[in-house]
Amino acid sequence: MIKFNIIIIFLSALPLLGMQDPANQIGDALLNTLTFEQKVSTYSLAKSVENLSYTSKVKLIFNDGSSKYYRIAHLLETLKKYAPSAEKPNKLTNYIKFHTKLKIKEIKEIKLFLFDKNGEKIIKFESDGLKIGKRKIGPFEVPSNRILIASPRILYY
């Protein structure tokens, strides 16, 4: 009976530990290396980027040093099963909300850290800058009803 309970506890803890349980598997090999919490946070950040800006790509930097640009739409589709666990609103949304209330039009070099339940850093979100009410088209900027998020990057620990 004790052995049975240990197995149950172990299986229940797998998602929290980010182990590769079948339910945590997705089609993209690189994304599959992420822990459950990293996947949830990635979905949440991608959703914010989609809602807040016209930015279509984000660079993911994995903990082995490899990196790849992903389309926001692809990330949302691939990670959609983590949507129910995603934080609403997340740290990025709250960050922008705070600055817009202060009428700050531009923020340079954003660095936001996301933590797991144990307080360990799991993600760093970086951007060269944010501009309220702007959109980047090619090398130019035009007025917009959204926010310019310049060169968004997500670094995994």
Binding site: T100, P139, F140, V142, P143, R146, I147
Partner: protein
């Protein structure tokens, strides 16, 4: 005050007063009153002609007028849009109260009379939607038409209607005058899936033991849906004329034996009863009569129709900007009158309007906008050159799937995609318009790039250089624009346009924006002609067609198969000579080399498995390669490619054999080695060799007889005749008297003799002169074979029968001489051709009889018969198939009478048949006399399914 001062004051006063008109116009624009706004602006412009500020706000009012007035009225006047509802739908008055939908309580039928949910709808709109309020504006514009679709029936059993298969349907039309809640009882003791449609639109489903409604409903528990359990009732709220359909879906029954049953609790509300086997699940806007697809598209692209008219107005407004002009659009105007009325990009909080800067529009901004609008208008005008003459008609549109090819479609819709001469004006000026627009585009954006920030802190220019841009981005943009300008009347590298590394090819826009519209219809027909048996266009054919139409040039081949690739390092040393004998998965547009990029099926890879190679066209037979290796970085070099049948190292042996032998791999296998070229390869040297090689290559093999024979003396009698009957059909007869027919494709000296199953297999001809040479089968290890090729009507063995005729009769012409079975020489063939007198019709020429039936593949079986009786009018070898059907499976009425020995047939007349039989005898087969009296079965009444009777005489032993 002197007169001058008075005049100055007067002008000042007029300007001040009229300046207020612009503020009034802005207020009207914000309130959605664009007509008034335009009037204010017009009045202002009377006193201040050319004022860019007025024209700036005129852009807003013109756009507003388009949406509120021009466009909706065009829909009303031309597309049967409902007048009042359409004008309401396009009314942009922000303060206007939205029309609320009607909500009706849906009450349970379980005796508790609880509220299940609400039916949410607009009584005048038949089209159900997920959120009627949000979709009211567009769903109310047009009345909807619905169409019945025939399906399998529902069967009535114990009071319920059950689907009979996966494609069953039943429909009910609500005929009560007053609307009311109507319930449908569902028997789901068996599992099943059935979709529910209201007026042609899916509104819900029955899924095993539950149901779900998801249009026109709301519930406290499920938002815009209602869920319920079954067996039980599904509540709906119907109006007079509503059509409700239940349609089973594939695997609808699941593991059950009969699926769910359906019945209305009030069957008398549906008169005259259910329509069995009918689904109303097709719904589309009713645009009125005599509308074509062309009419619909014209709204968006035809000159002087609403969209083009708006574009012209906006461009005209922006032309009033001059250098030095500056118009400020304050943030209060474009965001809102008061604070906290602005955007909410998901943060949940309003953003203060003064968070935003005012927008300054200078001449350069206006010019940039004008050029962008000009490019959009140009695109619309060029795309409007073609007719799309298909009626917006259900019968016509739903019948489109009968056309299995573009050509069969064009044979009915002959004007489809034909250029329309009445619209040629747009096309005539397209190239000059595009060039001037691109020049303006480049001019404006280059100035904007170097323009500094506005003086005011709280203002931005409409378009600004992004501080997050790279310094080189402007140069890239200019390169792209220059490339487009260059391509208007000529060619330019596609990589200049995209900024990406590619196959080095050039492109041109001239075919599209030249003086004449691009022959789109003919291009589609030509493309279809190139389809292979698998329905694909071979890569090389695709390139040839694109080159033929002037769209691209300087493309590397679609595949290097059959070529030698000589790869040189950047220092000029030869890296490898690779014989490419299998498909290399090369993409000549991107330059990406797939299989040769890695260790493929042989040793024919260029570098190692960690490489990523791109090839780019440089000049004929020459290119550059670029290799990305994540360990060693980027390396580059040049390469040459040439036909592997050439002897570029001048050692008397074709290079294909040199490389194969060097790898101890005779025949056609892949391989590589470094063969030494005594004279360095150049484009010219390869071109000269190829030119010599191609001197005697025929354009077509049709009508010719090929005789090939092993060069191996031990196989002297190993010969094969191929008669190329058409451009795709050939007959083979070999020395073992094996006779067969097959499809083939001839291209640039190669006979692809199995294009359907193995497009990589081919026989290459190397002509020594016009009639003879050696050839190599790339799938064989046997080595070269000698061949002769001559017209099939020649009688080389002088037996009075053309040699091709003999082959078709499965007779091998006796053309060989000596014990070694030597082939006739070229001079003998030449003499025979010179001596030939065409006294007889040339075999298999096109029929000269003007009344002859069309026979596309010259197999003497008319196309019409082949089409009807299982043949292929493009297959010259299948006449026997059709003949067999005609002889064995097609009967006349008289033949039907004699289908069985001893039978005769009696026709039914007016529902009765007179059956009689009398046995007769004869001694001379001329005179007959009755042996018995008539045996009569008289009369018998035929049932509704019987058209004929017959007698069968019992045969001995029966």
């Amino acid at each position: 005050m002197n007169r001058f001062t008075a005049l100055t004051v007067l002008i000042f006063v007029v300007n001040v007063l009229t300046a207020d008109l612009i503020d009034e116009a802005k207020t009207k624009i914000k309130s959605g009153d664009f007509v008034e706004a335009n009037q204010y602006i017009s009045t202002y412009l009377n006193s201040n002609p050319g004022d860019p500020r007025a024209y700036t706000f005129k852009c807003f009012s013109d756009i507003g007028l388009f949406f509120e007035d021009t466009f909706p009225n065009y829909l009303i006047d031309n597309f049967n849009a409902n007048s009042s509802r359409t004008l309401d739908s396009f009314d942009y008055d922000e303060t206007k109260q939205e029309i609320e939908p009607t909500e009706i309580q849906l009450i349970s039928t379980d005796g508790m009379s609880s509220i299940i949910g609400y039916w949410v709808h607009y009584p005048e709109i038949k089209f159900p939607s997920k959120d009627p309020k949000d979709s009211y504006r567009y769903t109310s514009i047009f009345d909807m038409s619905i169409e019945p679709v025939n399906k399998s029936v529902f069967n009535l059993n114990n009071g319920f209607y059950y689907p009979t298969n996966d494609y069953s349907a039943i429909s009910f039309t609500y005929t009560d005058v007053n609307p009311k809640q109507v319930n449908f009882e569902i028997d789901t003791y068996e599992s099943g899936i059935i979709d529910i449609y209201l007026n042609g639109t899916e509104i819900g489903e029955i899924y095993d033991g539950s149901y779900k409604l998801y249009r026109n409903v709301r519930s406290d528990m499920y938002g815009s849906q209602i869920w319920g359990t079954l067996p039980g009732s599904i509540p709906l709220y119907l109006q007079n004329g509503d059509k409700l359909s239940f349609v089973s879906v594939p695997n609808y029954m699941g593991s059950s034996s009969s699926g769910p049953g359906i019945r209305p609790t009030d069957p008398y509300a549906f008169s005259p009863g259910p329509e069995l086997g009918i689904a109303y699940n097709m719904t589309y806007p009713d645009l009125g009569n005599n509308i074509t697809i062309d009419d619909i598209f014209a709204v968006f692209k035809r000159k002087d129709l609403p969209v083009r008219e708006l574009l012209d107005k906006l461009i005209s407004n922006l032309e009033n900007f001059n250098i030095g002009d500056e118009v400020v659009i304050d943030s209060q105007f474009y965001l809102g009158e008061s604070a906290e009325t602005s955007i909410d990009p998901s943060t949940g909080s309003a953003i203060l309007a003064d968070t935003y800067d005012d927008i300054i529009i200078q001449y350069w901004d206006a010019l940039a906008l004008k050029s962008i609008l000009g490019i959009i208008e140009l695109y619309l005008s060029v795309s409007d050159q073609y007719d799309i003459g298909i009626n917006y008609d259900y019968e016509e549109l739903s019948g489109m799937d009968v056309y299995d090819s573009a050509k069969s479609f064009f044979s009915v819709f002959s004007n489809f995609l034909e250029a329309n001469p009445s619209r040629i004006a747009d096309q005539l000026s397209a190239s000059t318009d595009f060039e001037s627009t691109l020049s303006e585009f480049r001019y404006s954006f280059n100035t904007i790039w170097s323009r500094g920030d506005p003086v005011a802190d709280n203002a931005d220019f409409l378009i600004e250089r992004s501080e997050y841009s790279d310094p080189g981005e402007l140069a890239d943009l200019n390169t792209s624009i220059d490339s487009l300008i260059q391509s208007i009347d000529g060619f330019d590298n596609f990589s200049n346009l995209t900024g990406e590394t590619d196959g080095g090819f050039q492109y041109s826009l001239k075919p599209f924006i030249g003086q004449s519209p691009f022959a789109l219809k003919q291009a589609i027909i030509d493309s279809e002609d190139l389809l292979d048996a698998e329905g694909d266009i071979p890569g090389n054919r695709q390139i040839e067609l694109m080159e033929q139409y002037g769209l691209v040039k300087d493309l590397l081949p679609a595949s290097f198969m059959g070529n030698v690739l000589a790869i040189y390092n950047s220092n000029g040393s030869l890296h490898k000579s690779i014989l490419v004998s299998n498909d290399d998965d090369f993409n000549p547009f991107t330059g990406e080399l797939d299989r040769l990029n890695n260790s493929g099926t042989g040793n024919d890879y260029i570098f190692g498995s960690d490489d990523n190679i791109t090839l780019s066209y440089n000049e004929p037979f020459k290119g550059t390669w670029q290799n990305e290796n994540y360990m060693t970085g980027t390396s580059t070099g040049t390469f040459y490619y040439y036909n592997d049948l050439l002897d570029m190292n001048s050692n008397g042996t074709i290079d294909r054999l040199d490389i194969s032998n060097a790898n101890n791999n005779p025949g056609g296998a892949d391989g590589h080695t470094n063969i030494s070229y005594p004279v360095p390869l150049t484009s010219n040297s390869i071109s000269s060799a190829q030119s010599l090689f191609s001197t005697f290559l025929p354009d077509s093999l049709k009508g010719n007889l090929l005789v090939e024979k092993s060069t191996n003396s031990g196989m002297a009698r190993d010969f094969v005749f191929f008669y190329y009957l058409t451009n795709s059909d050939a007959i083979m007869l070999d020395s073992g008297n094996n006779y067969s027919t097959h499809r083939y494709r001839y291209e640039n000296g190669r006979d692809y003799y199995d294009p359907i199953n193995n497009s990589d297999s081919f026989f290459s001809f190397i002509f020594n002169d016009e009639y003879s040479g050696i050839g190599i089968d790339n799938m064989s290890n046997e080595g070269p074979r000698e061949f002769i090729l001559y017209p099939g009507y020649i009688d080389l063995d002088n037996d009075g029968l053309a040699d091709a005729e003999e082959v078709m009769l499965e007779i091998a012409p006796d053309i060989f001489t000596g014990s070694n079975y030597a082939l006739p020489t070229s001079s003998e063939i030449q003499s025979a051709i010179a001596a030939y007198t065409p006294t007889e019709p040339v075999p298999h020429e096109e029929p000269t009889n003007p009344l002859a039936l069309l026979d596309n593949d010259n197999d003497n079986m008319p196309d019409a018969l082949e089409d009807k009786f299982g043949g292929n009018p493009n297959d010259g070898a299948d006449a026997g198939n059709t003949l067999s059907v005609l002889l064995n499976n097609v009967y006349t009425l008289n033949q039907i009478r004699d289908l069985r020995p001893g039978s005769t047939m009696i026709e039914v007349a007016d529902g009765y048949a007179q059956l009689g039989l009398t046995l007769q005898q004869s001694y001379d087969l001329y005179e007959w006399e009755n042996m018995t009296t008539q045996v009569t079965v008289d009369p018998i009444q035929a049932d509704s399914n019987t058209a004929y009777y017959r007698f069968k005489l019992q045969e001995s032993g029966d």
